[in-house]
């Protein structure tokens, strides 16, 4: 074989190796042969997997921490939290509960009404309770104290009262409260 022919073959061979193997292998694009996955795409995929695995690792660590915290919460505590903010509101039970608070405080309601709360915010829904009581100021404070210390959470929306016409008359107090549930 002449030297020139060999040189020519070497040049052609080099180009052939580049265009038929190296290029398609690296970029995934070739005229004759295309590998299923190029080195470039595999590298990108690997870096994506690395990132996902990092996130998964962090997530798993967090989940483990949460699980240990979750296991420390007793069933009793969970039940109490469910009373504080239940999963839903049963209108009748809620009215009964509020009525019992008034009985406990020794102040019967003159009016008691339920209303649906505004639209859900931050994963929680609400319901309104409004009532009117005629009582003395100290007794009203006791009633409000009972609501404030109730396990179910009540937030004040409005409290209104005015001095009665005659000093001997009881004062009429209008109260609107809001209670919450998880949506």
């Amino acid at each position: 074989m002449s030297k020139n022919l060999l040189n020519l073959l070497l040049i052609v061979g080099t180009f052939a190796v580049y265009y038929l193997l190296i290029g398609p292998l690296y970029k995934g694009v070739g005229g004759v042969w295309q590998p299923t996955e190029s080195v470039q795409s595999l590298r990108e995929l690997k870096s994506q997997y690395d990132e996902t695995l990092n996130q998964a690792d962090n997530l798993f660590t967090q989940a483990e921490t949460l699980r240990s915290q979750y296991s420390r919460v007793t069933d009793e505590q969970k039940a109490k939290m469910k009373v504080m903010v239940p999963d839903s509101i049963d209108k009748v039970r809620l009215l009964s509960e509020v009525y019992n608070i008034s009985v406990e405080a020794g102040i019967p309601f003159n009016e008691l009404a339920y209303s649906d709360g505004p639209s859900t915010t931050n994963g929680r829904g609400s319901a309104g309770i409004s009532f009117t009581v005629k009582t003395t100021y100290p007794q009203f404070k006791v009633l409000m104290d009972t609501f404030e210390k109730s396990l179910r959470l009540f937030s004040i929306q409005t409290v209104n009262f005015a001095a009665p016409e005659r000093e001997s008359d009881p004062t009429s107090y209008q109260v609107k409260l809001e209670t919450y549930f998880i949506k």
């Binding site: 080099t14 690792d57 989940a63 100290p138 959470l153 004040i156 209104n160 998880i182």
Partner: protein
């Protein structure tokens, strides 16, 4: 003599003697020596090009082989990572994630609600503590404002004179009440048929997350003693509708001139 362009060297000297022998050089300077050197250089140049071409070809083949190896390595790495990810998924699936999420959400909401939890008794206590003897409150309105996410307090009352109202406002603008009330607006100042001055106080009140036991009003009475302006004349206070003693007994008091006495 035949004609020829090739000059013939005469084999004889002009005088007919035999010619002298011409000495032959030991080595020729031009001729064969130069041409052989050039030939060697040519051979050497061709082999260098060939060597370079072979090296390039070899490198290309090596790179191709290396890429095959790297591709295999990457594929196996990705497979290993896939398996690891699947393992994470299967381990996460064993956790009670839905229950944990619900509980976490519940705790977050409870925390938020407790943080914002208002106590009407805190407002009552602040009003009771800050009330001036000559002022009588007749209306009380505590209202939550969703826009400001705070509470607004509106008090309607009467006082025997403007000075008493100013004194009441001054009291509310002092410590410790400024911790809970930061801005007071007086409206509706108008004398009524009994000769008293009707007024309305409007103020935002910071009661969210506070309990009556948690507020500190101990400086209030002392501050009032130290700094209230003298009240001219004698006037009996009317019964405030918010007695501080916790009973319905009317709180009566007589102001005789210099200061109002602390109620606590």
């Amino acid at each position: 003599m035949p004609f020829s362009f090739k000059p013939e060297i005469s084999q004889t000297t002009p005088n007919g003697d035999a010619p002298l022998p011409v000495p032959t050089p030991a080595a020729s300077f031009g001729g064969t020596a130069v041409s052989s050197l050039m030939a060697r250089e040519g051979e050497h140049g061709k082999s260098l090009v060939q060597l370079v071409l072979m090296a390039v070809f070899g490198a290309a083949v090596l790179i191709a082989v290396g890429l095959f190896g790297y591709q295999y390595y990457l594929s196996s790495q990705i497979d290993a990572k896939k398996a690891l990810l699947a393992d994470y998924e299967s381990r996460l699936a064993t956790l009670p994630l839905e229950d944990m999420r619900k509980l976490s959400n519940r705790i977050k909401i409870i925390n938020q609600l407790v943080k914002e939890h208002p106590s009407a008794n805190v407002a009552f206590r602040i009003v009771e503590d800050s009330i001036e003897n000559q002022v009588t409150y007749e209306r009380f309105e505590l209202r939550y404002n969703p826009q400001t996410k705070g509470y607004a307090l509106q008090l309607g009352g009467v006082a025997p004179n403007y000075k008493s109202i100013a004194q009441q406002v001054d009291t509310l603008k002092r410590k410790p009440y400024t911790t809970y009330i930061q801005d007071i607006v007086v409206e509706g100042l108008q004398p009524n048929e009994t000769g008293n001055i009707g007024f309305t106080l409007k103020m935002p009140i910071l009661i969210a997350g506070l309990l009556p036991e948690g507020i500190n009003l101990s400086d209030g009475a002392a501050a009032r003693v130290a700094s209230t302006s003298p009240i001219m004349g004698t006037s009996s206070s009317t019964m405030p509708i918010l007695p501080t003693t916790g009973t319905t007994t009317p709180v009566t008091g007589t102001s005789t001139g210099t200061t109002t006495s602390p109620r606590r």
